[in-house]
């Protein structure tokens, strides 16, 4: 009896030590790479496979900021909705979203500013239908269930696409689901269509043979936006300029070596090369400054959402432009 008791004690002691050692490792992974110097930290929020992630993989942005004594911290978000919340509370300094989240953010009173606009990416944003679907046009989606993430560029894209087909949101059964839940619903056939963006589009295509009913081309420019807050950019105009220019440089490098980009992204996203290749090849990466045209489209997104009572306050996107 005493022998088994001794064995139990040893086992517990062993487990406890392993536990504590493991926790120590965890601590190391989270905080280990912080330098002793109290450098100012810039926090950047990104989504899967987006231009910030590409800049992250490229490394140039971090290096340039390090030279100016800044450390970069990265935070991944599941979609623009979650990201703009974090931007609002100041948890992140910069973020990349599609064209709709900044409008939503502004309407809730956040002091969001547009720091830069990305090139269009409408080839990778689509209304997806299952492999064996018999739907031939957007009009045919009348009365059907459509999955889309609320408050995202896909949401706006859907509204525009429906409008062109003479339909409104009320003519279809909209299911507001985030990318993960939407994918499951789509695969199970619970929805007739799924409006989404890359990498989810590419993944659905290569994994389960989803078809594109239509891309966002012609409905919206479907641009990326680099966002920040008024307080941050006013206090740190140089850092803002640096982040934008360095990201742009990284993106230009990515365009020139797409095969390397594909390898890096596939590894980072833990996705197969076929999907990443599809995603990367239908896109040209780059940043440009906010033009009047761009602001006009943002305003129309704001007005659309306000008219449909999807946002509560009227938004004037002009106030979100950075005074340079």
């Amino acid at each position: 009896m005493a022998k088994t008791h001794w064995f139990k004690k040893l086992a517990v002691a062993l487990f406890c030590s392993i536990w504590l050692i493991g926790a120590a490792f965890g601590y190391h992974y989270l905080y280990g790479n912080q330098t002793a110097e109290a450098k100012t930290v810039i926090t950047i929020g990104y989504q899967k496979g987006d231009i910030f992630q590409i800049a992250k993989l490229d490394g140039g942005l971090e290096k340039a900021l390090e030279k100016e004594n800044y450390t970069v911290k990265w935070h991944e978000f599941v979609d623009g909705s979650a990201l703009q919340e974090a931007l609002k509370t100041g948890s992140i300094d910069f973020g990349r979203t599609g064209n709709t989240p900044p409008v939503i953010a502004q309407s809730s009173g956040a002091q969001i500013v547009y720091a830069a606009a990305g090139y269009s990416k409408y080839q990778g944003s689509a209304i997806l239908i299952p492999k064996n679907s018999t739907v031939k046009s957007v009009k045919a989606l009348k009365g059907q269930k459509i999955a889309v993430a609320k408050g995202t560029s896909a949401h706006y894209f859907l509204i525009r696409a429906l409008k062109k087909a003479g339909l409104t949101l009320n003519d279809v059964d909209v299911q507001y689901l985030d990318a993960g839940a939407a994918r499951i619903a789509f695969e199970k056939g619970a929805v007739a269509a799924w409006v989404t963006w890359d990498p989810y589009t590419a993944s659905a295509q290569t994994d389960i043979g989803a078809q594109i009913l239509t891309t966002a081309e012609g409905y919206t420019t479907d641009r990326d936006f680099i966002l920040s807050t008024k307080s941050f950019t006013t206090a740190n105009p140089d850092v803002t300029k640096l982040v934008v220019s360095q990201t742009n440089k990284a993106l230009k490098r990515a365009n020139q070596n797409k095969s390397q980009l594909i390898k890096n992204l596939a590894k980072a996203l833990k996705m197969d090369q076929a999907t990443i290749t599809l995603m990367v090849n239908r896109r040209t990466y780059g940043l440009e400054s906010i033009s009047t045209e761009i602001l006009k489209e943002q305003q129309s997104i704001a007005d659309t959402f306000y008219d449909l009572k999807l946002i509560k306050k009227k938004v004037d996107v002009q106030s979100a432009k950075i005074e340079n």
Binding site: V12, W19, G22, K48, A82, E85, A86, T89, R183, M271
Partner: protein, 256 residues
Amino acid sequence: MQKFKTKLLNFCLPALLPVSLLLIWQIASQFNLISTKFFPAPSTIIKTVYTLVQGKELFKNVTISLYRATLGLGIGASLGILLGLLTGLSHRANQLLDSTIQMIRNIPHLALLPLVIAWFGVGETSKIFLVAVGVFFPLYANTVHGIQSVDPELIEMGHVYQLSRWQLFTDIIFPSALPAILVGLRYALGIMWTTLIVAETIASDSGIGYMAMNAREFMQMDVILVSILIYALLGKISDLIAKFFENEANHWQINE
């Protein structure tokens, strides 16, 4: 021989159901009786574990989760036991603190998640805070209960034998309350894991919960199941450790 047979039976019988289920599952997958998309075969899962272990991702995420759980537990449990001791021992402290704490206790702590994220952002603080809050209440409540259930006759005996206030605490009050505290600890461990799971799926880019969430977006069912298995394993191990300490503390009780 009889004793060996009984021991063998005691070991095998509980394992019979899960093992048979696993076998049926594996066979069904191999003959495509069930969709391997939604129910990957056990063999696939084992392969996935191997790949993940290889990629060091598993180790990284598991240890990060362990760190968060441990820190949250440490903070929440110490505070819970300390405040529990305080309100259990001091009538004034009880009047001051107990009703407030009981009021907050009635809020399901997971409902605080959006609030916590708004306050503390998406970093480590919010996760550890939430775990600490979840762990605090069972330990507080059980500690108070343990202290208040001490046999008053034993305390009177302590007074007669002129025990100092410190001796009264260490010799009589605390050992009497200890079994209750440890029960609270065991309960708190379960809450620690469930809180962490939720916190890691909402606002995280590391940890087991994140691993599962991440996999969900790409229908990597095998990774999701592995994450669940890991949580189950961690939960079981922590429960066993807690049970061990409980038994150690209760060794003076009659065990027939």
